[in-house]
């Protein structure tokens, strides 16, 4: 990989300052960024590590729900969110493998918005507030297609605030090689309705399956979506699954998530 200057600030303010430099890029857990840099697909001139900032670490309840620091590793979320939001903790505990979970962070994952990543499904289904170094962004405004988000140059996620649903589950079907989601569905039931977010399936990245949301808001049971068909249009078709196969998975996994929700 290309060489770069490495900076590790200890406060959000210092990180903001460091990221103002020409060619600077934030580094969180690096579990996606490092392999990308090895392939020379990314070549920052300055890399600003966000892992040494105490105010971006940890899980706590507060205004609006569950606050998770942007630099909190998946393993910490899996452990510390378990009593507050079990479906989210289970999702975090199923990302990658143990070593990846010890480094990879929620902020990094949400910022990257890989179309096969897990967290975007939880973020979209939970209707979170994404808190950045400069502002707050609603989940529905945040995701803008594969690897694309509302984040501006130099802006980074300092925390994510999750609304806690009455019941929820995340069901992931692994891509057999990478163990990313070939398709995965997060179902969250709130007092004001059900949200269904799908990752891994669409060419446009994570999306809400609104037809299913309507059906499940009316009747929160797997049977409620039996008559629906997820459209294969715009679904990813690759080595591991055709568009039709992914569309099938969307429906099958949504049903399973509803059954598993608690």
């Amino acid at each position: 990989m290309h060489n770069f200057e490495f900076v590790k600030p200890s406060s959000i303010a210092d990180a903001v300052a460091a990221l103002a430099a020409e060619g600077a890029q934030p580094l969180s857990g690096g579990q996606t960024l490092l392999p990308t840099m090895k392939q020379r697909l990314a070549a920052p001139e300055v890399l600003v590590s966000l892992t040494g900032i105490p105010e971006m670490q940890g899980v706590c309840t507060g205004d609006g729900g569950l606050h998770i620091g942007g630099a909190t590793p998946h393993a910490v979320v899996a452990r510390e969110a378990a009593s507050h939001y079990p479906a989210l903790a289970a999702l975090a505990g199923g990302i990658g493998d143990p070593a990846v979970r010890n480094r990879g962070t929620i902020g990094g994952s949400v910022a990257n918005n890989d179309p096969a990543a897990c967290y975007p499904a939880a973020v979209l289904a939970s209707g979170v507030t994404v808190v950045t170094s400069t502002r707050k962004i609603a989940a529905d405004d945040y995701f803008q297609g594969m690897f694309t988000t509302a984040l501006e140059e130099g802006e980074f996620i300092t925390s994510v605030i999750f609304r806690i649903p009455q019941a929820a589950a995340y069901v992931k079907f692994n891509q057999p090689a990478s163990r990313f989601a070939l398709t995965a569905v997060f179902v969250a039931k709130f007092a004001d309705g059900v949200r269904v977010a799908v990752t891994g399936a669409s060419n446009n990245g994570v999306f809400r399956w609104e037809e299913a949301e309507d059906a499940l808001t009316a009747d929160f049971s797997a049977g409620a979506i039996a008559g629906l068909t997820a459209s294969a249009e715009d679904m990813i078709s690759d080595l591991h699954g055709s568009a039709a196969y992914r569309a099938n998975l969307v429906k099958v996994l949504t049903g399973r998530a509803v059954t598993a929700a608690r």
Partner: protein, 792 residues
């Protein structure tokens, strides 16, 4: 003899201590004074004409020491194929030159056409990128699909080979008419078209090589990730670089797995030697995993149509196949033997089938070279046979267990000459089948199926009865068949003056545990502690000769050589003992580490004899040389024929198509077993790879010849949660009749016998689950494929 050391004991592995403490020394762990780093520049297109390479673009970059291109090697030799195959019409195969670095044309993505040597790896890598950008390649249409390549003469991988066919082989051509007649007369014919999927071997240690040159003596040294350093030396010296064999030392230190992919000589090995000479410094190269995917020899990649003629009762009358075998862009060293003599000769399986004919067309394509990978030809044969036999059972409504029993050779039929040219020396295939049925609790299957159904899963069971030929092989036979090397092996047993022993073996251990098992045999035979025996391997300067480890041959061939050398040691010891004990040589017996005069209590220990051989004060010097060191070369009389029966149970998720292998049972006949723990470990590993092939692993090139599965992000390696605990048994043993240890070999069995058992189980699950239209799914039986098949 303590139970934890001799033949048949599950002695713990001594090599484990260094591996478990991080003190193994693999090639990339070595750091040499003054070393420079090589990075290969590889083609990003599958097929193209090299127009220009602007080396001036990098020569002045920081740290760059040298740049090599194909031009630098155009006057040296090519990396040869080790086996000459003739086509059915008698013409010899087409053998294009395989240069050290591509020259004129690039022929697959990953084909190295240049190399940059620099002070640091990072500098070499930076320069390689710049050189890649400074290279102009005129892209030509990629030739990817085998059948299309063979049909279209307008586009050629090698300009001099018009139809992209290497050879069109018939086995046995003289039997063809009789087989055709038997097929025509058969009351029922089953036809199956199937693919044996291309695999990437993926030894966990990527290939690596370090070249050194010593100007004072003109000697070269190559440290490399090899399964057979002597063969590598032979190929580099005699064919590629013209270095005298006594001027090149090849060392293969700890090697992190091979599975076939490290048998072969690769261009990087010649490159680092040439670079070391030019620079006067050690030059090292280590593959990144992506390079391994692009440039290691791949395995399998057959497309086969198999027909089986039978009676309505399921007696197999004839088998006929037509196979297209992909050899990739160049002929790797064993690539022509693998789809022919390691495949066609096994097409009778363990059955008494009177008529068999095999046709194999090998085709050049713009893909990585394909060569032997764990099992090499025999998994392809076994898969074809066991899948078509399973299909026969379904078409005729017959029980697959009964059909096997009906057709398996019986113990009284050995030695048995097959219609495809082998002589099976011994076996008891009914015994392993019965054992597998028992261990797998076939009787309890229905209950397990009902339990799976309650959880919404379709359960199925699949069987495979397999045989292989390994311990390759008698040199005179393989010579007749086209081999360009002998396939004996060698060992030197050196008894030191103090009674410790060094065994120099031509076998190479890259996970097989030779350092533990070979001493078990020496200790048993000489009645000394195994801890007194040290195994020396992997260094051409220390070992007389050797053909290396592959084809499950280490014990059967190199072990036999060691056994012979020990016999010579004992024979010489008897002469020394006779002199010391003042007895006739014929009266000396050797047992439990003592040379005794029969019928008396007069004896000398092994240690006393060894000491006397090196301090020959009381010694028959007039008739016997001092010293106690013997070398034996062993050339086997026949292949060995391990066989067994495998039973697999799967669960299929109807909603997603996901296949879970939930139980796997192996009953194998490996002949005598030296270390059961290690033998079981070999079977586990083979089955793990077989399940990988059957369920997970797919090597996919797109129509432009780009490898779509070039990393672990897309090539699905089996992980711990993809496989169950396996049940393995090797108690049904019929010792090999022609080698002194009675061993057959166990390294490849698991990978040979398991894929058809898995696929048969998946078809069984689907058929029982009401998807009766599904009669075949190609490997890997991925969720997507299984779902598509169910919903077709």
């Amino acid at each position: 003899m303590p139970k934890d050391t001799g033949i048949g004991a599950s002695t713990k592995r001594r090599e484990d201590v260094r591996f478990l403490t991080g003190r193994g020394v693999y090639t990339d762990d070595l750091s040499l004074f003054g070393q420079a780093h090589a990075v290969m520049v590889r083609s990003t297109v599958a097929h193209g004409r090299i127009v220009s390479i602007d080396t001036s673009a990098v020569e002045s970059m920081p740290g760059v020491l040298a740049v090599f291109t194909g031009e630098d090697f155009k006057d040296v030799g090519g990396n040869p194929a080790g086996w000459l195959i003739n086509s059915r019409d008698g013409t010899p195969m087409r053998e294009p030159k395989r240069p050290v670095l591509a020259h004129g044309k690039v022929r697959h993505v990953g084909d190295a056409y240049a190399a940059v040597i620099a002070e640091s790896y990072a500098q070499a890598k930076d320069a390689a990128q710049v050189l890649s950008d400074a290279t102009e390649i005129e892209e030509l249409p990629a030739i990817v699909d085998m059948k299309a390549a063979a049909a279209d003469a307008s586009n050629r991988v090698h300009d001099e080979i018009p139809d992209n066919i290497c050879f069109d082989w018939g086995w046995i051509e003289d039997n063809r008419a009789a087989v055709d007649a038997a097929m025509k007369a058969a009351p029922h014919v089953v036809t199956l078209e199937l693919t044996n999927n291309r695999l990437v071997p993926n030894a966990m240690e990527p290939r690596a090589s370090i070249g050194e040159y010593f100007p004072g003596t003109g000697d070269y040294k190559l440290t490399t990730t090899s399964q057979n350093p002597h063969l590598t030396r032979l190929l580099i010296c005699a064919f590629v670089m013209g270095i005298p064999e006594n001027k090149l030392q090849v060392v293969a230190p700890d090697v992190g797995g091979g599975f076939g992919s490290k048998i072969y000589h690769y261009g990087e090995e010649a490159l680092v030697l040439a670079a070391a000479k030019r620079l006067g410094r050690p030059v090292r190269w280590t593959a990144e995993r992506t390079e391994s995917f692009l440039s290691d020899a791949h395995g399998r990649d057959h497309v086969t149509k198999i027909e089986l003629g039978c009676t309505k009762e399921g007696d197999i009358l004839a088998i006929r196949t037509e196979t297209y075998a992909n050899v990739g862009a160049y002929l790797s060293n064993f690539s022509t033997a693998t789809p022919t003599f390691l495949h066609g000769t096994l097409m009778a399986g363990p059955y008494k089938v009177p008529h068999v004919y095999v046709n194999v067309k090998t085709v050049f394509t713009n893909t990585a070279p394909v060569d032997a990978y764990r099992g090499a030809g025999r998994p392809e044969a076994t898969y074809s046979i066991e899948r078509v036999v399973d299909k026969m059972c379904r078409e005729l409504g017959l029980d697959p267990f009964e059909v096997r029993r009906r057709n398996l050779l019986t113990p009284d039929q050995f030695p048995y000459t097959t219609p495809v040219g082998l002589v099976y020396d011994t076996g008891n295939y009914q015994a392993t089948l019965d054992k597998a049925v028992d261990l797998a609790d076939v009787a309890g299957f229905e209950a397990r199926r009902a339990e799976s159904a309650k959880r919404g899963k379709l359960r199925g069971m699949g069987l495979s009865t397999w045989i292989e030929a390994c311990g390759i092989a008698p040199s005179h036979l393989v010579g007749v068949l086209g081999a360009r090397v002998g396939l004996y092996d060698a060992a030197t047993v050196r008894v030191n003056a103090t009674g410790t022993i060094s065994v120099m073996t031509g076998a190479h251990s890259h996970g097989q545990g030779h350092e533990t098992v070979f001493p078990q045999i020496v200790a048993e035979k000489l009645g000394i502690p195994a801890s007194s025996v040290e195994i020396v391997h992997g260094d051409t300067a220390k070992i007389p000769f050797g053909m290396g480890s592959y084809g499950s041959r280490s014990l059967a061939v190199a072990g036999s050589a060691m056994d012979r050398a020990i016999d010579k040691i004992i024979a010489k010891g008897k002469k020394i003992a006779a002199h010391m004990l003042e007895a006739a040589e014929g009266d000396i017996t050797f047992a439990d580490g003592k040379f005794s005069v029969a019928g008396t209590d007069k004896a000398k220990t092994f240690g006393e004899i060894a000491f006397s051989a090196y301090v020959p004060h009381n010694y028959p010097l007039e008739t016997l040389e001092p010293g106690l060191e013997e070398t034996a070369f062993y050339d086997p009389a026949n292949f060995t024929y391990p066989a067994g029966a495998y039973i697999c149970e799967v669960e299929v998720d109807e909603g997603t198509g996901k296949v879970d292998v939930v139980a796997f049972t192996c009953a194998d006949d490996f002949g005598n077993v030296m270390n059961p723990m290690i033998v079981e470990g070999q079977v586990h590993g083979g089955v793990g790879q077989g399940i990988g092939q059957a369920v997970l692993e797919s090597t996919s090139y797109d129509e432009n010849g780009q490898l779509l599965t070039g990393s672990y992000m897309d090539y699905a390696m089996p992980r711990a949660d993809d496989v169950p605990f396996y049940t393995v048994d090797h108690s049904c043993s019929t010792p090999c009749t022609h080698n002194p240890l009675g061993v057959k070999g166990c390294g490849e069995a698991g990978a040979i016998g398991s894929p058809p058992a898995v696929v048969n189980a998946v078809i069984d699950a689907l058929q029982r689950g009401g998807h009766s239209h599904v009669t075949h799914i190609d490997m890997p039986v991925s969720p997507n494929r299984v779902w598509q098949a169910m919903n077709a």
